[in-house]
């Protein structure tokens, strides 16, 4: 009898989180959807190993883990490139099915550009479902593996692989990392002074080290409000850009609150949430406006097909 497939964590990365495509159906109770910061990238990795789109994988941030695969199996990486090696000596290629031999190790080091990558494993990571999904929600400490990031000596159970691995690849759409982030003007754009709006749209902002999955905090020319009057608490979603009283913008992330009391100056178009996922402290961003219709066209056109590997 063979033992059930699993992953052994020999060394944890900076913040390795079990993630799936998000916990839908609870936003009206104050629980954000969360899930992989680039859900499409995780979906691509899942397709490369023959998983369903909602299978759970790992989201890896800035510095990755050392993982052992006692039974071997197919894995795939998507998202930002990291320094990485396999104990077999075979190359670690992104966006392509990798077939691990029994007892082979995968060592994911530091990111080379960007911030996050996603690892899918054939069979999917089988942590218990919490509120119908497996994504880790760190702010309230539930989901994933005991509601926390991975630690050394953790073990992750995997689902049984239904088919023999087949080598596939994808070509993710290219992104221009230096182009401005595209935004739709927000509901409280009129709350800001002309100088405040000019600062927001015409100057660069540095990504602060206090950024995480709840929000990307920016630092730069303060965005002045025309009135300090409180606004009524409104519902928000990932990509909404709030301006707190100090004038330093916060782009709400995947685990951010579902309601907020700060004025929203603009909202990141959903196609650029994938770029938000790749921002790291010290990066500089700028903003440019886009129409709602163009943003929808972008969102519809981001997916790509899986191809044979050879």
């Amino acid at each position: 009898m063979t033992s059930p497939p699993l992953i052994e964590v020999l060394r944890a990365g900076l913040c390795d989180l079990v993630m799936d495509d998000g916990r839908y159906g609870y936003t009206h109770l104050g629980v954000p959807i969360g899930g992989a910061a680039d859900a499409l990238a995780l979906r691509w990795a899942n397709r490369l190993v023959g998983n369903a789109d909602d299978a759970a994988g790992l989201e890896i941030t800035l510095k990755g883990p050392l993982l052992a695969f006692p039974q071997g199996g197919a894995v795939a990486l998507s998202g930002a490139p990291f320094a990485a090696s396999r104990s077999s000596g075979d190359a670690v290629v992104w966006n392509e099915t990798l077939v691990m031999a029994p007892d082979e190790q995968l060592d994911i080091g530091a990111v080379s550009s960007g911030c996050r990558c996603w690892l899918a494993v054939q069979g999917g990571i089988q942590v218990p479902e919490v509120m119908r999904r497996r994504s880790t929600f760190l702010p309230a400490g539930f989901g994933g593996l005991d509601g926390r990031a991975l630690r050394a000596s953790d073990q992750l159970a995997l689902g049984e692989a239904s088919v023999a691995p087949r080598v596939l690849r994808i070509e993710p759409p290219s992104t221009n990392e230096t182009a401005p982030l595209r935004v739709v003007p927000g509901p409280q754009a009129a709350h800001f002074t002309d100088a405040g709006l000019a600062a927001f749209f015409n100057s660069g902002y540095r990504v602060d080290s206090a950024s995480d999955r709840r929000g990307v905090r920016l630092h730069g020319a303060p965005v002045a409000v025309a009135t300090q009057d409180d606004i009524a608490t409104q519902a928000v979603l990932p990509g909404a850009i709030q301006i707190p009283p100090d004038g330093q913008p916060i782009i709400l992330g995947w685990d951010g609150p579902v309601t907020g009391g700060y004025p929203v100056i603009a909202g990141l178009v959903s196609a650029d949430l994938a770029r938000l996922a790749q921002l790291k402290p010290g990066d500089t961003v700028r903003f440019a406006t886009m129409t709602v219709e163009s943003a929808r066209t972008l969102a519809r056109n981001r997916d790509v097909e899986v191809m044979d590997g050879y």
């Binding site: 629980v31 009129a190 309601t259 219709e293």
Partner: protein
């Protein structure tokens, strides 16, 4: 629908003339719903529209989140302006929650009472005599914004939020009463402590209180 909403600095025509609406990203249609927020929320939810991913009620507004790439349908636009005066809101559940008013967990009760010109006992009697209604939820999982706080007990939020308050803290902020489901930062005035577990991710539904539910507080 035009791009930037029909509010100030709007660019163009009003396809939905009777309501104020804006976009938060190209997926979030924010509509002003005033005192019809819960009724409009229920009408939209029961319509189960294909393009709608989720709807989040808030303070006098709704955020209708569309699936990526989707546009608002004619059915959605019609529902946003439909006359709801004859609609009967689905009644929520009534909850009676036991409260230990005052003490260390309700350290702001004396100040709240003093502002209202009341003794602590009178403030407790006033707060526990009212019936509250969950208007919307947010801030943290299971945190309900309860309307119905007697006007004398309305209190501005603290100018400096506390960094750590215990789970179950009962508090007044502006016109709302709320209960913190989990320990963490909080900027409202603490008046007591509730024993009931407000949020448990391993329960279905995970939140004890839901939009539309009613609450009475019973002093221990």
């Amino acid at each position: 629908m035009p791009d930037y909403g029909n509010a100030p600095r709007a660019s163009s025509t009003t396809l939905i003339p009777k309501i104020l609406w804006h976009w938060i990203t190209e997926r979030g249609l924010r509509v002003e719903t005033g005192d019809q927020t819960l009724a409009r929320y229920q009408a939209l939810m029961s319509a189960d529209l294909d393009e709608v991913e989720t709807i989040i009620p808030a303070d006098g507004s709704l955020l209708i989140v569309l699936h990526p790439g989707a546009s608002p349908s004619n059915s959605l636009q019609a529902l946003l302006v439909a006359d709801l005066s004859a609609a009967i809101e689905a009644p929520g559940r009534m909850h009676e929650l036991l409260v230990d008013y005052g003490g260390a967990a309700g350290r702001d009760l004396a100040a709240v009472a003093a502002t209202a010109g009341l003794s602590m006992a009178e403030a407790i009697a006033l707060h526990s005599a009212a019936t509250y209604r969950v208007q919307f939820m947010g801030f943290q999982p299971g945190f309900a914004y309860l309307a119905g706080t007697p006007p004398g007990l309305h209190q501005p939020r603290l100018s400096r939020p506390r960094t750590q308050i215990p789970a179950g803290s009962l508090a007044v902020g502006g016109t709302y009463t709320g209960i913190y489901p989990a320990a963490g930062p909080g900027g409202w005035n603490l008046i007591g402590r509730v024993e009931a577990k407000l949020f448990d991710p391993h329960r279905e539904p995970p939140a004890l209180l839901m939009p539309g539910d009613e609450v009475r507080f019973v002093a221990l």
